[in-house]
Symmetry: C2
Subunit: 129 residues, 2 copies
DNA sequence: GCAAGTACGCACCTTTTGGTAACTATGAAA
DNA sequence: TTTCATAGTTACCAAAAGGTGCGTACTTGC
């Protein structure tokens, strides 16, 4: 597994290096649910139920789990009103906003180029949206 | 699973829709190996062994498998010289070049912001690069 | 008064991911 | 002559991802 460095200043970024924290982060972020949650939060704060309905196909378990990881990475802010029934609001942190621009750019590119990627290709499943 | 539409013109992109091909593609692309291979090919064609050495930690199996998927998505071109011993060269297609810009932008952002994401966080493993 | 919504945690189970080792055929270098 | 590099494939196995169903404690609408 990983080892802790002596000080934080020893940390630097290289995704191609297996032991770099940057690689750890790219491993965490390279999940469809992480990408979709950050994309979904681009227009402002959302609650759990809203995200569930917006991100078609995500389960409650994966939403909770992924949001927790994104919060640990300081990309998403979790605001719990501490009421019963629960009222929790999720939003992007300033750091998350920066990442969101990159991820949205990637997602929009995929949506725009999906036809070129799947045409004449029987191994990629197609379906009406 | 998925169903085939009547014609290709029915295809459109929405990553938030579970049955959209765009979701299928984002699912395939959201793996660390896909992201790293496309990033690695940004400076020109590379051979199998070069990629193995450049992308620290990837196994032969995952490299072969991921490249195959990227080729099916028309993002990577596989040029096999049909010799023994084998000589195969991989490069980005014009489509892959477009995606590479987005992915490199994401990877560089992660490398630049890795410190902000991991500081004061004991759940994220750190290591000297 | 009963059901639904809220945002989870937990246990169980299946599917997918991904590592390792063995094997391929050949040329080139030691 | 023996070893290595090349770019794979295959089988086997362990680990991780991820779905489903249950329970929670309360409020609001029907």
């Amino acid at each position: 597994m990983y080892e802790m460095p002596k000080s934080k200043s020893d940390v630097a970024g290289d995704v191609f290096c297996a032991k770099c924290p940057a690689r750890y982060l790219i491993t965490k972020l390279s999940s469809k649910w992480s990408l979709l949650i950050i994309d979904a939060l681009k227009d402002g704060p959302m609650r759990n139920g809203e995200l569930m309905r917006f991100i078609d196909g995500i389960s409650q378990k994966m939403l909770t789990q992924t949001i927790k990881e994104l919060a640990e990475m300081k990309l998403v802010h979790r605001e719990d009103h501490q009421t019963i029934p629960p009222h929790v609001v999720y939003s992007l942190t300033p750091l998350g906003e920066g990442l969101q621009e990159k991820i949205c750019s990637l997602d929009r590119w995929i949506e725009e180029n999906v036809i070129a990627m799947v045409e004449d290709n029987n191994s990629i499943p197609l379906k009406l949206i």
